[in-house]
Symmetry: C2
Subunit: 137 residues, 2 copies
Amino acid sequence: MTPVEPSAPSPIPPGPVNLYVCVTCRLSADEEVRSGRLLHDTLVAAQQRHAAQDVTIVPTECLSNCNRACSVAVAGPGRWSYVYGGLAPEQADEILSGAARYAATTDGLVPWRERPEILRKGVVARIPPLPAATQEP
Amino acid sequence: MTPVEPSAPSPIPPGPVNLYVCVTCRLSADEEVRSGRLLHDTLVAAQQRHAAQDVTIVPTECLSNCNRACSVAVAGPGRWSYVYGGLAPEQADEILSGAARYAATTDGLVPWRERPEILRKGVVARIPPLPAATQEP
């Protein structure tokens, strides 16, 4: 009798998500170009290289996380939203990889071991998805 | 000739919003009942007193803001979401007042001077509303 193989997990339908990048963040007061803007531009270039089509990069003026610049947030319909801080422009590839993994979930909950190191360390807060939350009393 | 009175601002249609309360937050390791749970229960009692019907209080397990307990977040359709930290159960009335003011906006942006002091000091992060953001390229 052939041993039963564990069934493959159902494929997760990917979906479009937003990666908000705070373009007003700065790492020092005398920056000619703010680090947040550099991070945004580096992310856009990385996205073009990797063709991460399920992630929309959205420049945003202030995520109110000024003490832990640079900051980004990910959000998408039906998903938990996350805010991350303590990031730098040279981490664009890792951030984009994390956002793509987030886009591949249906609820925004990426298993801990699959999160890039910088996002594990840099999590600032998360917010439940609206649809699921409003079902509660 | 009668002087022209400045026209009254258009009334803002209030809407239902969610007030997420982290019930796993604690202010010390040896709490019999976690401060986050106490904050939740105090908020529910305050809501009953004030009849703040536009605010739905949602107990939530971890807003990933553990270093700044207690934590709450507000979110609603079409609104910026906010996360707040450094709160305590005895501040339930002020928190609820802030959430009600938030519910009275259409975009989640409460003028700075109208925000309760504890929410001005306690803002941890904010995230843009999904609908507006997805309109951007």
